[in-house]
């Protein structure tokens, strides 16, 4: 018996059910938000800075997320970093007369951490107590021990000058080394070529996975597609070379039109067409279209609502504060309408609902971040403007998308019309923002990004309207498409790495270790049987045990891994700073947990992703770094963290309940 309720999932939908996608979208949005708002944010130097902030958090988030998927918490994880630092530093200075080699101290700290982890796991398994309680005990014991030993042996809480110990230079290079590579002539060219290849392979790969292949490709259309591609490349190259405004304009148009032509004709040449459907515009579509247009207007004129130049301000009869409130409410309106329609819709299969909830989680967090920052910053005109533009623009985009989706199976003509309107409104907002702002970011970067988005929307709308979507798996095409996306992502990452490394930024080894542990953790979780066991132990411990999984051993191993990683991070920070505060890491455990939760990990265990947790750490680091860069009040961050945690728990509970319900 086939289940007709579970339909074929295209590549985009498959992507949307993966746990880390929400965090990825979140990271991109937060980055773009601060990139648009802080002039100092987004340069290679500041990227190196926030990656350095993110690295210890990210490394810990990797193991904490594994532990969380395994159904447990470790509140002693944060203070463990301090314990490791204190142990190494004290031993290196005082263990024998004149101290002892780091080759002994660091393994000793790891041994100690391993014992703490084993003890946590042992107690949780043996007593069946919640790990919150057990590790809270460990937290206080270790915290106390850190202070007592630091004060007794060193007579103050700060243990400094480890650099005199034997083996320092090696461990400094390994754990805290700095890498600066300086400029390179072809850096920007490599970045541009890599970026273009990434975009092209991504688009081609997604097309390959979602359309139905023709028996044989049509040559004439293929030639047009190649011509379009040529025009696009020419446009980019001219843009890179010239500086005159007219030249830029022409080259930009050439590049964008070429891109659309290339994508559309490539799809026509290699893939089957689709029947035209004729039908009336449904009400849902109309409604969302109206919200979308409203959002676009708010985003476009937000600049005019608050301006230092009084003459240009619209709605002058209103008091300034009222004007701001009205603007914020108006900006949130399209978003609110979309969320309402999501909440009401019951057409989705439960699995999809669960997945979309998890996807929505980081988005909810973002909205709360932006909302809270806005509340705290209502006095800063620039901040409100940024919030209003972001919220209204995002809401408008979502509404246009909903409107287009509602008409997709009804009328080809209206589908195309709404797609073109959506694309056009991006162009409109781009020009409105450019006209209104003096910041280079708005005039250059954001303007270009918006136009690129408009181009992609136009191209995908035409492809969706004229090509038939695949409704069944096609193994060869799926594999080919996936490989294209993968290769594109690798090339893109290489280009980005080159761009970041060969610059004025100073990159520390911590970033490398973060990347390393993320890859290892993700590999273990998704590709090995131990990962399977971790999922099972967190999802249903009795089931895991009944099928022969050594549940207690898995949990103990996870606790040990968490403590060991705490020791690693402690050593890393010690090598970086050359000194350690005995209170280091206090309270950090909650940030690790929040990073994991923001990354799509269920607090109740059994579901999640290591990459997501890393991205969660990235989101937190970006906001930590971006808020001061935008010259806003840093303290608001904690309100954000609290709100995120609360919202996550609520969503988690809901997801869990839904997943266990009988249909």
């Amino acid at each position: 018996m086939g289940d007709e309720r579970i339909s074929y999932r295209g590549p985009i939908k498959r992507l949307l059910v993966s746990p880390e996608i929400g965090a990825l979208i979140g990271a991109v949005v937060v980055w773009a938000f601060f990139w648009g708002n802080g002039d100092k944010f987004g340069t290679a130097g500041s990227t190196a800075n926030f990656l350095d902030v993110a690295a210890p958090l990210g490394i810990m988030a990797v193991v904490v997320s594994l532990l969380m998927i395994g159904g447990e918490f470790d509140l002693s994880a944060g203070v463990m970093t301090g314990a490791s630092g204190v142990t190494i530093a004290l031993m290196a200075k005082y263990f024998t007369e004149g101290g002892i080699s780091l080759w002994v101290c660091i393994p000793a700290a790891f041994l100690l951490a391993g014992c703490v982890g084993w003890w946590n796991g042992f107690l949780v398994n043996r007593t069946g107590l919640p790990s919150f309680i057990v590790t809270l005990g460990s937290f206080f014991v270790i915290k106390g021990a850190n202070l007592v030993f630091a004060k007794r042996i060193n007579s103050k809480v700060n243990v400094a000058d480890v650099d005199k110990a034997h083996g320092y230079s090696f461990f400094k290079a390994l754990l805290g080394g700095e890498n600066a590579f300086g400029d390179m002539k072809y850096r920007d060219l490599i970045f541009i070529v890599g970026g273009l290849l990434f975009a092209a392979l991504l688009v081609l790969g997604l097309i390959e996975q979602s359309l139905v292949r023709k028996q044989s490709a049509s040559v004439a259309e293929l030639v047009i597609a190649i011509a379009g591609l040529g025009a696009a490349i020419a446009g980019v190259l001219i843009l890179h070379r010239t500086d005159s405004i007219n030249g830029n304009f022409l080259a930009g148009v050439l590049g964008l039109v070429g891109t659309v032509v290339a994508i559309v004709f490539y799809s026509r040449a290699r893939f089957e067409g689709r029947e035209k459907i004729v039908g009336a515009l449904p009400d849902e579509s109309k409604r969302f279209l109206a919200f979308g247009v409203f959002g676009v207007l708010v985003a476009s004129f937000a600049g005019r609502l608050f301006d230092r130049n009084e003459e240009r301000v619209m709605l002058q009869w209103m008091p300034g504060t009222l004007r701001m409130v009205v603007a914020v409410l108006a900006a949130l309106f399209p978003l609110a309408m979309t969320i309402r329609s999501f909440a009401r819709g019951d057409r989705e299969v439960r699995g999809r609902v669960i997945a979309s909830l998890i996807v929505r989680l980081p988005v909810i967090c973002l909205v709360s971040l932006i909302g809270i920052v806005a509340l705290l910053q209502l006095t800063t005109v620039q901040a409100v403007r940024a919030v209003v533009i972001t919220a209204a623009g995002t809401g408008a985009a979502v509404c246009f998308y909903q409107s287009r989706r509602a008409v997709a199976k009804v009328s080809t003509k209206w589908f195309l019309t709404i797609g073109v309107l959506m694309s056009g409104s991006f162009v409109f907002v781009a020009f409105a923002l450019r006209a209104d702002s003096s910041a280079a970011r708005f005039r250059g970067g954001i303007f270009t990004s918006l136009l690129l988005m408009a181009t992609l929307i136009l191209a995908t709308t035409i492809v969706e309207a004229t090509n038939r979507a695949r409704t069944a798996p096609h193994e060869k095409a799926d594999v080919l498409g996936r490989r294209m996306v993968l290769v594109g992502m690798i090339l893109g990452s290489i280009a980005l790495t080159v761009r970041l490394l060969l610059s004025d930024g100073v990159f520390r080894m911590s970033v490398f270790w973060w990347l390393f542990f993320t890859i290892v953790g993700s590999f273990v979780l998704t590709k090995t049987k131990y990962g399977n066991w971790i999922f099972a132990v967190g999802g249903n411990k009795d089931a895991a045990r009944a099928t022969g999984v050594p549940a207690d051993k898995v949990k103990t191993a996870l606790f040990i891994a968490t403590s060991l990683m705490g020791a690693f991070v402690g050593a890393m920070i010690l090598m970086r700073l050359n000194s350690v505060q005995a209170q280091q890491g206090d309270g950090q455990e909650f940030e690790y947990i929040i990073a994991a939760v923001v990354g799509g990990n269920l607090m109740t265990g059994g579901y999640g992703s290591v990459i997501g947790a890393s991205l969660g750490a990235l989101i937190m680091a970006i906001s930590k770094n971006g808020i001061p860069a935008a010259r806003w009040n840093q303290d608001g961050r904690f309100i954000f963290l609290g709100a995120v945690l609360l919202v996550s728990v609520l969503v988690n509970n809901y997801v869990r309940k839904k997943a266990n319900e009988q249909r």
């Binding site: 086939g2 289940d3 074929y8 439960r350 049987k529 999922f535 089931a543 269920l602 059994g606 266990n660």
Partner: protein, 251 residues
């Protein structure tokens, strides 16, 4: 040979916990390709009966033979090694894990990837799908979480898993108790499909309506006592109900 050589045979088995008689003088046999139903109201001793067969308890008296040899299990693992698989009511599944991950949980197929062993996901996906198809279940998306399946489909995953991992005797503990009418019918269909693959199936239930259409042999328990063992030909629905309620003794 099927009728004369039972896979599993219990003879006058009793189980005492201190001075509580949980089960007394129960005899039955399980034949490959047939379904033996164990019926009884709550507290009739059905759970004790399963636990003895699956190796969790040892019988206090009486004999337990598997393929004609006397056996005495120290743990469920030993019973499982002989091919006696139990599908409990909670099904031993993690709701948020995908169908194929649950299917192979604890016995993941491995493949060498350079120096390390990784799960052979391709094989696992394909096999899980094929095995379920053999029972007549078409799970279109083997990657969806088990929690999104209906109760009947979840049972089917558990049954298919037990069959694939070499079960020869399949014990199903109240597989229909939490299900609606349509879902129950589906599950009973899977039970028959499993028996058709030459497994001996033990179906524990308190619902005579579910037992009668699929069972070949019926063991009826009441308050720890065996009311008797009947072949399908000797029973009607009314008589089954009477026997279960304990109003009359077996003739």
């Amino acid at each position: 040979m099927t009728a004369t050589n039972p896979l599993l045979e219990l003879d006058n088995v009793s189980k005492y916990f201190g001075n509580v008689k949980a089960l007394e003088n129960v005899s039955t046999k399980v034949v490959a390709g047939q379904v033996t139903c164990v019926l009884g109201d709550n507290g009739a001793g059905k759970s004790t009966f399963i636990k003895i067969i699956s190796g969790l308890h040892k019988p206090s008296t009486g004999s337990y033979k598997f393929e004609g040899h006397e056996v005495s299990f120290e743990s469920p693992r030993e019973a499982r090694a002989l091919g006696i698989a139990t599908v409990y009511q909670d099904l031993a599944m993690a709701p948020l894990m995908s169908v194929w991950r649950n299917f192979f949980l604890g016995s993941e197929p491995m493949r060498r990837f350079g120096p390390i062993n990784v799960i052979d996901a391709k094989f696992a996906r394909k096999t899980a799908k094929e095995e379920m198809a053999k029972l007549g279940i078409d799970v279109r998306d083997i990657d969806q979480p088990v929690g999104t399946l209906s109760g009947g489909e979840r049972q089917s995953v558990a049954i298919a898993r037990a069959v694939y991992f070499g079960a020869r005797v399949l014990i199903l503990d109240e597989p229909t108790s939490a299900l609606g009418v349509r879902q129950s019918d589906l599950v009973l269909g899977y039970v028959r499909a499993a028996a058709a693959r030459d497994l001996g199936v033990i179906l524990i239930t308190h619902n005579p309506q579910h037992a009668l259409p699929v069972g070949d042999r019926f063991l009826i328990l009441n308050r720890g006592q065996s009311i008797g063992q009947f072949e399908k030909a000797d029973l009607t629905y009314e008589r089954l109900i009477e026997l279960m309620s304990g109003r009359i003794q077996a003739a």
